[in-house]
């Protein structure tokens, strides 16, 4: 790059940055920055949904900048967001389709050979073992159009509900919580509530590391308004707690008692919003409804002193948290996996909603009960298109006769094609996956896209054999632990190489346009899905099988928004043309092209569904004319949200004499999930090049462990050997291990518990009982491990 060009780019960087915060640009600068074009899109990583502009020069991505008009990030990005280019250009990219041969080695194949082979195997299993013998396992990283297409192919084409996605492992409890409390999935409000909240309650979310841009908004709110109170409830004192006014430390899984205790304090001090409770809620245990007095009586048992004994959270902190939460005037709770990945995840979600309902901290500016998403399109792609075993597009259950008939009609398939019986949830699906010769394994084949279950499932030992024995097709951009078990590997295009829609945590769908061509022979998933459909005689069902990925995406999107028209989740007004033009994307419900999208649901004047004839007629809803707040998806049709009577129940496995420690798992800022992408960005990998176990100094001294020592962490299911990091971050008795490390001995998911929440079927990644043992002093371990050899073994 010559000097003048460099100066020019620097001036452009300054101008763009100035513009992002509303300052006029320095005169000498030009916003174009010396690229051929800026293409609008969304970040590929977390569920925040930051808007980006991708700079393309000579057919290559050369620059990324934040989109100042994006309502998610207002122009700012975290380091993951703008380093995505390194993933695209990485030499490890899968380049060609590959088929495993009789000798166990992969051999390059043409796309025709690979697709013919996959289709013929799927056909064979279908005919021999029935429609449910072939499963699809997708991802919250797939585009909405891709999830919709695979879901349609399976449910409408194969007549099989064996469709799951990795959001089952991260978001299912939040879905269960929203539906059981409010009647409909996804948050009521938006990120915009952060700037209006007076109290922000962060629960089970290391926001500073996992959602850095959201954390930035929270931090700004606090810095600009020091009176705003930040409460953090976590077993670990993470970076997030740095800005907290109050930390509620808890043993993993015991926070249910803290939430009940906060409710008790709120009622005792009469900080409740009686009018809101009377008009908009009911108390229920799922079978019966009760008076609010019954609820008050129920929570009475959770006095802060008793709860302190149970949870280790100081009673004083509980009292203070209750007071701040109830009396701030506008309180917002944000959470992620700490609440969801539990056998009582749905209950934990319900109890947070309870706090909002009893204090009227919902449906008004700055007050919301908000679940953050870990993946960029878990909400838009998997939840909203119904790409799970029990759902149909619009997040409606497959068991609903009317909705099945509606979808069948829209899809132009014979009535009765869609199976009314839900398929298997993720853990059951993998437990049922195996070879032809195993009569106990009814699922014989699986297609996975953009996910890495051979590293991400809990209690891995139980599931690896099934993946290995079955016919496994993997669509991804890099070799992973899962490609090591695959029979066919299909190289995928990256988001900026294909375009499509991501829907982030705040019900906002944003379109990324295709920026550049995929490398070598990589192809968009939507093309792969359509080509498989074509080969299985389902061309009519999936007609978007053209090479032009944006055209195919648009067809899929247009159909998806038509099928879900007039639902509470409608994006009918978010046409592709409009999504191309809208700088910030659109939040549903958005029933028509002239509707701006919805900031807050269930509030008259803000939520269009109050007056949307099509919706009211389709779902038989009558909303009283004087109702200001109305939870219109309430199953009882009374417009009320449920305050749940949920008993206290501990985790599936708690420490005992044999396994005396709690193990909890999570993420660090630099690494994203199984490290498939981020571990290939050296600047990122360097910061956390390997897994490790955090041990409190008190425990470390008991076991004679110092930082760097190798420690065996063992549960009833598996073991892992990791270097120790002695730190006060966690409380004594609690160990923390991040789960991004691909090195076999350090894959902590062998140790994790696969017990599932009975309501959401989400596994308890966050809590396992383990024991530890010092194995040796520090040893030089291999770090920054990634699977590079496609022929390498799973070991």
């Amino acid at each position: 790059m010559n000097i003048s060009r460099r100066q020019f780019i620097k001036a452009s960087a300054a101008a763009a940055t100035a513009a992002a915060i509303g300052v006029s640009a320095p005169k000498k600068s030009y916003a174009e920055g010396g690229v051929d074009k800026w293409v609008k899109g969304a970040c590929r990583f977390c569920g925040t949904g930051c808007g980006v502009y991708v700079g393309v020069k000579d057919g290559k991505v050369v620059s990324i900048k934040g989109n100042p008009k994006a309502k998610t990030n207002f122009g700012f990005l975290c380091v993951k967001g703008f380093l995505a280019y390194k993933v695209m250009n990485h030499p490890d990219r899968l380049k060609y389709p590959m088929i495993r041969q009789a000798d166990g080695k992969f051999k390059r194949a043409s796309w025709d050979e690979a697709l013919d082979y996959v289709a013929s195997k799927f056909k064979y299993f279908h005919e021999k073992y029935g429609k449910d013998s072939v499963a699809y396992y997708g991802s919250g990283q797939c585009l909405t159009e891709e999830s919709y297409t695979f879901n349609k192919l399976w449910k409408g084409g194969f007549g099989s509900n064996m469709v799951e996605g990795n959001p089952r492992l991260c978001m299912a409890s939040a879905v269960g919580g929203y539906i059981s409390t409010f009647g409909s999935d996804e948050p009521v409000g938006s990120y915009a509530d952060i700037e209006q909240a007076n109290c922000i309650f962060l629960v089970g979310s290391n926001t500073s590391e996992c959602h850095p841009i959201i954390f930035r908004r929270i931090m700004r709110r606090k810095l600009d308004n020091p009176g705003v109170k930040i409460i953090v409830c976590e077993p670990r004192k993470t970076n997030t707690a740095k800005i907290a006014d109050l930390w509620l430390p808890v043993d993993p899984g015991t926070d249910l008692a803290v939430f009940h205790s906060m409710a008790r304090e709120i009622i005792k001090n009469n900080w409740v919003d009686r009018a809101f409770i009377e008009q908009n809620t009911r108390v229920t245990d799922g079978k019966n409804t009760y008076s609010f007095e019954k609820y008050a009586e129920f929570v009475e048992q959770f006095d802060p002193e008793s709860v302190e004994k149970l949870t280790r959270c100081p009673a004083e902190n509980i009292r203070k948290a209750a007071e701040w939460f109830a009396t701030s005037g506008a309180s917002m709770t944000l959470w992620t996996m700490g609440l969801n990945q539990r056998t009582r995840g749905v209950w934990a979600n319900n109890l947070i909603h309870n706090l909002h309902l009893i204090t009227g901290n919902i449906c008004k500016p700055g007050a919301d009960s908000f679940s953050l998403t870990g993946q960029p399109n878990a909400c838009g792609g998997v939840r909203e298109t119904g790409s799970l075993a029990h759902l149909l597009p619009g997040t409606k259950p497959v068991t609903n006769d009317k909705w099945r008939a509606h979808v069948e009609k829209e899809w132009g398939i014979a009535p009765g094609t869609i199976n009314p019986k839900p398929g298997f949830h993720t853990m059951k699906m993998f437990d049922s996956l195996g070879g032809e010769d195993d009569p106990n394994k009814p699922i014989k084949a699986m297609l996975t896209s953009t996910t890495n279950p051979a590293q991400s499932l809990p209690n891995l030992n139980k599931y690896v054999k099934g993946m290995k024995d079955a016919f496994l097709v993997v669509i991804d951009i890099f070799p992973t632990r899962t490609t090591q078990l695959a029979d066919v590997v299909l190289p995928a295009a990256f988001i900026y190489e294909k375009g499509g829609v991501f829907g982030c945590s705040e019900r906002r769908s944003q379109l990324t346009e295709k920026c550049v061509e995929p490398p070598f022979e990589a192809k968009p998933d939507i093309w792969i899905a359509a080509q498989i459909a074509k080969r299985m005689g389902l061309e009519k069902l999936i007609p978007w099988n053209m090479d032009d990925s944006m055209k195919a995406n648009e067809m899929a999107w247009t159909e998806y928004t038509r099928v879900t028209k007039d639902t509470d989740h409608t994006l009918y007004g978010a046409t592709y043309d409009r999504l191309k033009r809208e700088p910030a994307g659109i939040q549903w419900p958005c029933p028509s092209v002239d509707h701006p999208g919805t900031y807050k649901r269930y509030v008259r004047g803000m939520d269009p569904m109050f007056d949307h004839e099509g919706f009211l007629a389709k779902f038989g809803k009558q909303i009283p004319k004087d109702a200001k707040v109305y939870f219109y998806m309430d199953g009882k049709n009374e417009g009320r949200a449920n305050i749940w009577l949920r008993p206290y129940k501990e985790a599936a496995e708690v420490p005992d004499a044999q396994y005396p420690f709690y193990l909890t798992t999570g993420r660090v800022i630099e690494q994203w999930h199984t490290g498939t992408m981020t571990m290939r960005i050296p600047e990122i990998a360097r910061a956390h090049p390997n897994g490790y176990v955090e041990i409190h100094p008190a425990d470390a001294s008991k076991y004679n462990i110092v930082t760097g020592d190798m420690v065996l962490v063992e549960s009833r299911r598996g073991k892992s050997v990791l270097p120790a990091v002695v730190t006060k971050t966690s409380m004594p008795g609690i160990l923390f291990v991040p789960w991004h490390d691909q090195a076999f001995d350090r894959m902590i998911n062998f140790v994790c518990n696969d017990a599932v929440d009975p309501g959401s079927k989400e596994p308890e990644f966050k809590i396992a009982a383990v024991r530890i043992q010092r194995v040796s002093g520090p040893v030089k371990i291999e770090d920054k491990v990634v699977i590079t050899d496609i022929n390498s073994a799973y070991s």
Binding site: R6, A18, G66, F76, N89, M98, L223, D783, T788, D789
Partner: protein
């Protein structure tokens, strides 16, 4: 070489002090300041993210600097380098691993 456009958020009345801190870095060019004197627009020119992060960490250690937000990143030289084979994104591989010949 990375060129990054960023905003430095500062505490009240610290503008002069922060500008003088920033000017000590040859990798930083100070471009402008907002009317409320709370945000300074700068451009980094650094070898890579490692250097960027190091400088940011140093800057954040000053009490007057609250936070640095990045908005714009240009990495075209890195792409050119990767394409010409001059730069290989550093990846640590399993030992004794042969690459498939495709």
């Amino acid at each position: 070489m990375l060129i990054v456009g960023s905003v430095v958020n500062i505490i009240d009345d610290a503008e002069e002090k922060v500008v003088s801190i920033l000017k000590k870095y040859k990798e930083i060019e100070v471009y402008s300041i907002t009317d409320d004197r709370k945000r300074i627009i700068i451009v980094f020119e650094v070898k890579g993210e490692k250097e960027l992060e190091k400088i940011c960490e140093e800057l954040k250690s000053y009490d007057e600097i609250i936070d640095i937000g990045h908005h714009y990143c240009n990495f075209e030289e890195a792409i050119e380098g990767i394409e010409k084979g001059e730069i290989t994104p550093e990846v640590f591989r399993f030992k004794d691993r042969k690459k498939i010949n495709i």
